[in-house]
């Protein structure tokens, strides 16, 4: 890297943004009782919602209940946010409820997070350009699933909502019942931890 200035994080448009045009029509049709419209919405988001709830023991149940709950409460969706954001909130609540029931002492989303000296990375190695291209799609997908699965739930969920599902900091805070500073400190920890774990796969000279 020759310049100290970085380009903004390159994100491709979310499917929910690309297809937003017909989304409100589908939601309206589903609200009016058109079951196939709701099934189209489920088909559109099932992979993303499953990704959000996976890495947990009750992933499949959480996903199912999220879609069922969404259908049940569809009339209360007023369209103030994207349908997808609303759905993500429901899925997160279902997943957290299951996780808390199973492991009540492990999951505390609101404990203090230290953002001190220990966060300065010790291992600093360059990755070179397009490190992900060194892996085949399935292999990359397995790596990403594994490294994100190794994150503690309070950090993983914030990273998933903010950086994968691309909710805003405020939306993430609202969905998780956290303050904005708490979301930011968890996000920072999660990003640094993932960066450090990915080092072993992406550092320069790590050839497949």
């Amino acid at each position: 890297m020759s310049s100290s200035k970085l380009d903004p994080v390159a994100r491709r448009p979310l499917p929910s943004q690309v297809v937003k045009d017909d989304e409100s029509a589908l939601v309206a049709a589903a609200k009016a009782g058109d079951i196939s419209a709701f099934e189209t919405l489920v088909g559109r988001y099932e992979r993303k919602i499953f990704r959000l709830t996976q890495n947990r023991e009750d992933a499949e149940d959480a996903m199912q209940e999220a879609f069922l709950k969404a259908y049940e409460h569809l009339q209360s969706f007023e369209g103030n946010s994207r349908f997808y954001t609303w759905l993500v909130r429901i899925a997160v609540n279902q997943a957290l409820m299951k996780l808390r029931k199973r492991r009540p002492n492990v999951v505390s989303l609101d404990e203090e997070v230290n953002t001190g000296e220990d966060m300065v990375p010790r291992e600093v190695e360059d990755w070179g350009p397009s490190p992900a291209d060194r892996y085949a799609q399935t292999e990359l997908s397995e790596i990403l699933t594994k490294v994100i699965g190794d994150l503690d739930p309070p950090f993983r969920i914030v990273f998933q909502l903010r950086d994968i599902e691309e909710l805003s900091t405020e939306e993430t805070a609202e969905a998780l019942g956290l303050s904005v500073p708490a979301v930011k400190s968890r996000l920072l920890r999660a990003r640094l931890k993932l960066r450090q774990t990915l080092n072993q796969y992406f550092r320069r000279g790590e050839n497949k």
């Binding site: 890297m1 100290s4 200035k5 970085l6 903004p8 994080v9 390159a10 994100r11 491709r12 009782g33 079951i35 709701f38 099934e39 489920v42 099932e46 992979r47 993303k48 499953f50 990704r51 499949e60 996903m63 199912q64 879609f67 069922l68 259908y71 049940e72 953002t115 000296e117 966060m119 300065v120 990375p121 600093v124 190695e125 360059d126 990755w127 490190p131 992900a132 799609q137 990359l140 997908s141 990403l144 699933t145 994100i148 990273f159 950086d163 994968i164 691309e166 900091t169 930011k184 996000l187 920072l188 990003r191 640094l192 993932l194 960066r195 990915l198 080092n199 992406f202």
Partner: protein, 79 residues
């Protein structure tokens, strides 16, 4: 500016949520400190790799069970 400050401001820096003065002093530091530059760049790549990754298809049985559960509930609502 210390390397520790770069780390504490990293999330807001990558999200372009810093005021211009702080942003400029971070960029000045990045121009001089190779380690921080690498950390910032690889952290940015971490976000890009995750947010650009396709979610894996649902396992067939999972998908089937989801749509069966939906069909059952939807039929009940309609009845």
């Amino acid at each position: 500016m210390k390397c520790k400050t770069i780390i504490t401001e990293l999330a807001d820096y990558l999200d372009e949520a810093l005021d211009p003065i702080l942003r400029a002093s971070i960029e000045e530091h990045l121009g001089k400190c190779k380690d921080c530059r690498i950390v910032v760049d690889t952290c940015k790549q971490t976000i890009e790799i995750f947010c650009n990754s396709e979610p894996a298809p649902l396992p067939q049985t999972t998908r089937l069970r989801l749509h069966e559960a939906l069909a059952k509930r939807l039929r009940r609502v309609r009845a």
